[in-house]
Amino acid sequence: MIPATFEYVRPSSIDEAVAALAEHGDEAKLLAGGHSLLPLMKLRLAAPEVVIDLGRVDGLRGVSEVGDGRLAIGAMTPHYKVMADPLIREHCGVLADVTAKVGDAQVRHRGTIGGALAHGDSAGDLPAVLLALGGSVIAQGPGGTREIEAADFFVDYLTTALSDDELVTEVRVPKLVGDWGWRYEKFSRVAQAWAIVGALGMVKRSNGHIEEARVGLTNMGTRPVRCTATEDAIRGQSPDAIEDAAAHASDGTSPSSDLNATAEFRQHLARVLTKRALTAAVG
């Protein structure tokens, strides 16, 4: 399968990339790792007239501390670098652990954190972790930069709050402070597959109690889901409260039915996986 023809543009700076986007408007697509975009182009489900390759743009890779208790991750940082990065492992290990469950080794060598979030696929593993962490993205366009909270970023299936002339330059996540534990339970039938449902459970432990909890769900609707009902039900409680709290994990969700699972089964999975994830997170 061969993509349709396109004009190829390879900017070397963020400003050049923004200018190229402004010039070509909605005829253009940004190319990051290409591991979502190229398969779509090969199937001709996407046929952009212009492809703007971010591969040589300076300053979009790597991880740094931003001083306000957060980490900044360059949008073009590939998954395998996120998994191994010392700052991420020390301060936000949950992101490294979830990223390790994305696709397979070859996919993780090419796919990028910015591309995985900007693609806005609620079956992807990273949107739910960014949402649960209360992270954000930095977007840059002709008018300058703005920060978009994860809760506002994922708008609909394959749709984000980015406008046509903006690119993601950076992803921001908080440094976790205190005794956090986490587990991402990814349910799929075969190796290397996307999550039929995924549940991320994070808990901050203190004196045998759960001081704070975060729960994020993958593939339970057109956007990633944060289960505040479950989080609220275990805050300040002993781990015994997890079972009843996890029963609320599917409240208000409307997942799709497809060949892999009915909506009902997905809701069942969400409850079971949330319970498992939180139980493992408590340790």
């Binding site: 061969i2 396109f6 090969k42 696709g103 080794a105 070859q106 190796a191």
Partner: protein
């Protein structure tokens, strides 16, 4: 057309290509290096796995223009051609000796993915091999002998004396 310069198996190559040309087609159709196979063409099977700047990647999911300036290594560059069988890479020898292939279609990708795996983890357990090769599908072997082959090659590459591997 866009000019690309790519070092393939140690030889520098330079061609004008259409931007939509996939790296695997650059290797097979432009350079005639057909050792790298296309299996699924949908980024799933790993038959097209090569190394790009030292990392295993699926060359059906990379544009040749994205590889401009990089170093690409394929299964064709593994063996020392002058030496005959003695020049085989330990992975090639191990796949042969442990019967890690039947039809052989997945083998070029399987070997390149295994090479990356061993470079990252010189002494992988059975589970680490199975997880590490999850991006490579084999429809023949049932994987058992592939795991054995990778363990045996890893041992040779570490310089261990030949071990009998039980899987």
């Amino acid at each position: 057309m866009t000019k690309v310069e790519i070092t393939v198996d140690g030889t520098s190559t330079e061609h004008e290509v259409e931007p939509r040309l996939l790296l695997v087609h650059y290797l097979r159709d432009v350079l005639g290096r057909t050792g790298t196979n296309v299996g699924c063409d949908t980024s799933n099977c790993g038959a097209c796995t090569i190394h790009m700047d030292g990392q295993s990647v699926k060359s059906c999911t990379v544009l040749a223009v994205q590889a401009d300036g990089s170093t690409v290594d394929t299964v064709e560059g593994l063996a020392d051609p002058v030496e005959g069988e003695a020049g085989w890479h330990p992975l090639q020898r191990a796949f042969h000796e442990e019967h890690g292939l039947q039809c052989g279609y997945c083998t070029p990708g399987m070997i390149m993915a295994s090479k990356g795996l061993i470079e990252d983890n010189p002494n992988p357990s059975e589970k680490e091999i199975r997880d590490g090769l999850e991006g490579n599908l084999c429809r023949c072997t049932g994987y058992q002998n592939i795991v054995k082959a990778v363990q045996s090659a890893a041992a040779e590459m570490r310089g261990d004396t030949k071990v009998e591997v039980e899987v």
